[in-house]
């Protein structure tokens, strides 16, 4: 899906936990996430802490959007 959407001219940031799969699938901007069942959260934290965690991850995604890349890149 990532490739097809990007092929349409939309810049895509792929946020996922198993980044090697993302590399194989062909995503170009990849942001690693927390865990498979809750990529953008962590149930062990309080609601506020979890929001903060998620906010930071999405900030990484925004950074990825702003960064020009030539090749598949993981934004750690």
């Amino acid at each position: 899906m990532v490739k097809e959407i990007e092929r349409a001219g939309v810049t895509v940031v792929h946020m996922c936990t198993v980044t090697p799969i993302s590399m194989t699938v062909g995503a170009n901007r990849i942001v690693p996430t927390i865990a498979i069942p809750h990529p953008l959260g962590n149930p062990a934290l309080t609601h506020e802490e979890e929001f903060e965690l998620r906010y930071k991850l999405v900030e990484k995604a925004l950074k990825a959007f702003e960064t020009p890349v030539d090749d598949q890149t993981i934004f750690d």
Binding site: M1, V2, K3, E4, I5, E6, R7, A8, G9, V10, T11, V12, V13, H14, M15, C16, T17, V18, P20, I21, S22, T24, V25, G26, A27, N28, R29, T33, A35, I36, P37, H38, P39, L40, G41, P43, E50, F51, R54, Y55, L57, V58, A61, L62, F65, E66, T67, P68, V69, D70, D71, Q72, T73
Partner: protein, 348 residues
């Protein structure tokens, strides 16, 4: 004396439990468990499963280094002549675990190893050039076909015998071209292939062209404050009640739902349709998969221009690559037509 085989399987095939037990830590059991019985039958006395290593799929993938080390030690301690992993069929995380274990067995323990999975399992592309992966059907119903092939290849590898071409042995093409004799001459195969191609029927090329299927990275977004971002997920987030009945596995469709009035996704209004991971966390708070709440905040802060009024969703689990491609094309077209330049895609 028969050859010693150690078998790696996940919590599901060990009949410990499904997704709720996917965090099961590695465990060693003597003898064959679950699919190991089918392997034993296929070994016909030439080899025997002497021990089984069981590990939950989420546990393995989320604790990769530690889990791998523990599993490797368990395998090594059992002193196998050959190791068999899976088969994982179309279970993505299980496939990645099988591939990871198999590659480590080969590289770190220097032992022969065979695994098996469906060709569209993400583990297949990741590991097919590293270890022998028998191509299986996409569900456990394929065990009957897979067991004899895995058993036969395992025995050959353990004995150090010559391994034939992928088409003969049943393993996925691994980038190494191996000669063998077909049943028919090349011209006859070519005529048949052409007739199938002309009739729109399936055919298999004998030499797949090297993969060019990479898309050039999209342009960097220079003005995020005025850019509307679309949200897409393969994590199966849907409005409560799953109105379009998106399948929990091998989805036949994608959904498109209005989020323009939502500040935050909650258990009252959204859930996941995904059947490939523990749904509890996403059902409690779908923002954990689709971060609507933080994007709304960023919108208010002026960091982004806005969120596209609809989000797109499907279930990645067991969904054919061809289907995913089709959904991606449709989503891409809508976004392009709407003038959207940026999308976040989340996967579980």
């Amino acid at each position: 004396m028969s050859l010693r085989v150690v078998h790696y399987i996940n919590q599901f095939f060990a009949q410990i439990g499904g997704e709720e037990k996917a965090d099961y830590a590695p465990e060693y059991r003597e003898g064959a468990v679950g699919p190991g019985l089918a392997l034993n039958a296929a070994f016909k006395g030439e080899a025997e499963v002497v021990g089984t290593v069981i590990c939950g799929d989420s546990y393995f993938n989320e604790n990769l280094d530690a889990a791998k080390a523990t599993v490797l030690k368990m395998i090594s301690d059992a002193k196998p002549d050959v190791v068999v992993c899976g088969p994982a069929f179309n279970a993505g995380r299980y496939g990645v675990a099988c591939g990871t274990v198999a590659a480590a067995v080969k590289d770190e323990l220097n032992l022969p190893v065979v695994t098996g999975m469906y060709e569209e399992n993400p583990g297949a592309d990741m590991f097919k050039n590293k270890v022998y992966i028998i191509a299986t059907k996409n569900s456990a119903a394929g065990m009957r076909d897979a067991a004899p092939k895995m058993a036969s290849l395992a025995i050959k590898l353990a004995k150090g015998e010559k391994i034939g071409a992928s088409a003969e042995e049943g393993y996925m093409p691994n980038g190494l071209r191996v000669n063998f004799f077909e049943a028919e001459r090349g011209s006859t195969r070519a005529v048949k292939m052409l007739l199938n191609k002309l009739a729109g029927k399936p055919y298999t090329t004998e030499f797949p062209m090297p993969s060019f299927d990479r898309v050039a990275p999209g342009a960097a977004i220079t003005d995020l404050a005025h850019t509307t971002i679309a949200l897409v997920t393969s994590g199966g987030i849907v409005p409560k009640g799953n109105p379009d009945h998106i399948e929990s596995s091998s989805a036949s469709k994608f959904g498109r739902y209005d989020i323009s009035s939502f500040e935050d996704l909650t258990a009252a209004d959204h859930e996941t349709a995904h059947g490939g991971y523990d749904p509890v966390y996403a059902n409690e708070d779908a923002d954990r998969v689709l971060p609507v709440d933080v994007l709304r905040k960023m919108e208010k802060e002026g960091k982004i221009g806005g969120i596209y009024p609809y989000f797109f969703t499907t279930v990645g689990n067991g969904t054919a690559v061809a289907s995913a491609k089709k959904y991606g094309e449709a989503i891409g077209k809508e976004l392009r037509d709407a003038g959207i330049k940026a999308a976040i895609l989340t996967s579980t």
